[in-house]
């Protein structure tokens, strides 16, 4: 073969190979093993409304009689003034020795995070009895810890980070509870007589609608509110908020729910903004204000969907000057919402918002407002400030004016804190109680003591008289925190 024909053959082969490869490259459709991730791949069947019939408040047991009516009251979530500050005049110990504050009594509870309300020497807690599968309102003597009576009803549901959640609201005449599956009871706080009940899920749920479900993920955490003998609930579904006459159980007013806001784990907070008393609620889907007085009681005054974290637990705090701080969990952070009022009514605008790592944040417990400063235990995802006690001026929710420092972090940043005068009691998730002395914009750790060998000590604490009551997932303990001579 001549060199010319060999070269021609080689050149021809190269051209054919190139043309083949080029054609493939041009015309072939590139494909990868892509698996679409679509809803329903977990094989979850359509959710059905639970159709069990529950006789709320069906059973009652008397166990003991009250030994003594002690002074001091913590009548609801965040106390009498909704600020988580005890104004009880009893002098409290400024520090503890190595043995810590004395334990007055201790008792076991069903697994959960329900907190106590205290009134007229009685302590009430809406427990869940796992053996009987029952929501059980248990009344204890504050002095001795002896159980006095129980009002309960069977309700079956599965453990999902424990069972119980809420704190009752109590006055001299009425006591109202909200159970984990949104069952409401109103009873006599002295003898446990049942006045009326509501199944919020049944009454206000909209079957078949995703946003018509009342009880949120991880069950209901909304603590009830009694305002002038009217019980206030925010069920969502068919009614954004309702007011129920405690004496009769009649629904006095219902707030329409045009934006399909849903029940969150926060609680309704009464606030007076621009001279108008209103119930502020951080729902799932938005934040709203409902008139709490006058002829328009129950009317939706304002709402905003601009702030809508997927889970929200800490309740909103009024900062003054028409501004509210609203908090989101799971890293959502905090929003400053400005409420304005003009001739046409109220309007809400989110003025600023930041993630948990960008300013004040709270995973579970509502920050405490003292002298224009917000105090909070920062959540796990708050960057360098994670799990620290921090203080922010209400004028600047981004930069703290004080924090406890990287050597002073508290559990997973989800434990409760409560204030009495200048003393801040902070319980970490694992059961160590810290006593801080609060100055205007700083705090000094005075004492600490391991109280409970705990996991998930997440329930809010209560102070009544000389007693501080706290719990972990299974135990409730009453401490004497009074000043000793």
């Amino acid at each position: 073969m001549s060199s010319l024909s060999r070269n021609t053959l080689l050149m021809g082969s190269a051209v054919v190979i190139f043309a083949t490869v080029f054609s493939w490259w041009i015309f072939a459709v590139p494909s990868y093993d892509v698996i679409a991730r679509l809803p329903g791949m977990d094989n979850r069947p359509p959710q059905k409304q639970i159709s069990d019939s529950i006789f709320i408040g069906e059973f009652f047991d008397t166990v003991n009689t009250l030994d003594e009516i002690l002074p001091g009251s913590w009548p609801r979530f965040r106390g009498a003034d909704f600020d988580n500050i005890s104004k009880d005049p009893t002098p409290l110990a400024e520090k503890w020795d190595t043995s810590g504050p004395p334990v007055v009594w201790q008792t076991t509870l069903g697994e959960g995070y329900a907190g106590p309300a205290i009134h007229n020497g009685r302590l009430y807690i809406l427990d869940y009895n796992e053996r009987r599968k029952a929501d059980m309102l248990r009344c204890f003597s504050l002095k001795s810890g002896k159980e006095l009576w129980r009002r309960w009803y069977n309700v079956e549901f599965k453990r999902n980070h424990g069972y119980s959640r809420t704190i009752p609201a109590v006055t001299d005449k009425y006591l109202v509870t909200v159970g984990p599956r949104s069952h409401v009871m109103c009873i006599d706080p002295v003898d446990g007589r049942l006045f009326w009940t509501i199944d919020l899920e049944r009454e206000y749920g909209i079957p078949g609608k995703a946003k018509g479900k009342i009880t949120p993920e991880f069950y209901s955490g909304q603590c009830p509110l009694i305002d002038n003998d009217i019980a206030i609930f925010a069920p969502g579904g068919k009614a954004l908020m309702i007011g129920v006459d405690c004496a009769t159980g009649n629904v006095l007013w219902k707030t329409p729910n045009p934006d399909s806001l849903r029940m969150s784990h926060t609680s309704v907070m009464p606030m007076t903004i621009h001279g108008k008393k209103m119930y502020v609620y951080a729902a799932l889907g938005g934040v709203c204000g409902v008139s709490a007085e006058g002829d328009d009681r129950g009317k939706l005054l304002w709402s905003t969907k601009e702030w809508s974290p997927s889970i929200t637990v800490a309740s909103p705090v009024y900062l003054g000057n028409g501004e509210i701080a609203a908090f989101g969990s799971y890293g959502a952070g905090t929003a400053r919402i400005a409420i304005t009022r003009d001739g046409s009514g109220f309007r809400a605008v989110v003025k600023e918002q930041h993630k948990s790592s960008g300013g004040i944040a709270s995973e579970q417990h509502t920050p405490i407002l003292i002298d224009n400063h917000l105090w909070a235990v920062m959540p796990e995802n708050a960057g360098a400030l994670k799990r620290q006690l921090a203080c922010y001026s209400i004028s600047n929710l981004i930069t703290p004016v004080w924090s406890s420092g990287k050597e002073s972090r508290f559990g997973k940043g989800m434990g409760p804190f409560i204030l009495s005068d200048k003393q801040l009691y902070l319980l970490d998730d694992e059961g160590t109680l810290y006593l801080f002395n609060i100055e205007k914009t700083s705090a000094t750790l005075v004492s600490s003591h391991k109280i409970l060998a705990a996991i998930e000590a997440w329930s809010p604490m209560a102070i009544a008289g000389k007693y501080l009551v706290m719990r972990d997932s299974h135990n409730m303990i009453c401490l004497d925190i009074s000043k000793k001579d």
Binding site: R37, L38, G40, R44, K158, N160, I311, E380, I455
Partner: protein, 189 residues
């Protein structure tokens, strides 16, 4: 006489030889002893999940591509939650398997319905690249059952582990190859 002399010489020679051996033996053995002491055989690298801060460096620093670090789920600790913060991204409005709701960028976590309201979460190791986003989500808001480990069927056991060198929390150390994983366990009271 000569027999006695030979005996004396051989005794002297024996003592000399023994002395030399006594001196030489440690000198000769020293490098062997030192070599054995620094030999990594019998040890492997592993992450202490209780020190890990989910910084995501395990994904990018490992010499293997994808990283030999994979996520694991400690089932006794898992809450089997519907709203799983290790599975769902922050702000997810619906809790299902849609891609836009998932936190894992490569879809390595599989969610399987068990019964209301519980779901089982398992890891597809082939897809997992050890980014730790799920670990952080689970630790920050959940029970902390998701954690990362160096998988020894993938790890080439470098003399100096590239991840250990950059780990900001000193969570990576050598552990006996007979016990190569540090398993997370449910806290007991």
């Amino acid at each position: 006489m000569s027999e006695n002399g030979n005996k004396a010489e051989s005794r002297r020679a024996f003592v000399k030889t023994a002395g030399r051996l006594l001196i030489a033996a440690p000198v000769l053995a020293l490098p062997v002893i030192l070599a054995r002491k620094t030999d990594v055989k019998g040890y492997v690298w592993q992450i202490d999940p209780y020190k890990c801060t989910s910084c995501e460096l395990c994904k990018s620093s490992c010499v293997m591509t994808p990283s030999a670090v994979k996520c694991m789920n400690a089932f006794p600790m898992c809450g089997y939650c519907d709203f799983c913060p290790g599975y769902l991204r922050q702000g997810a409005k619906t809790y299902n398997t849609a891609a836009e709701n998932q936190l894992c960028p490569v879809g390595a976590i599989k969610r399987k319905f068990i019964e209301e309201p519980y779901f089982e979460y398992t890891i597809d190791e082939k897809l997992c690249d050890g980014c730790s986003k799920c670990v952080k989500g689970c630790y920050d808001f959940g029970n902390g059952s998701l954690y990362i480990q160096i998988m020894h069927n993938l790890c080439v056991n470098c003399n100096q582990c590239a991840i250990a060198r950059v780990c900001p929390s000193d969570a990576i150390s050598r552990v006996p190859a007979t016990d190569p994983y540090i398993v997370k366990e449910l806290k007991k009271l």
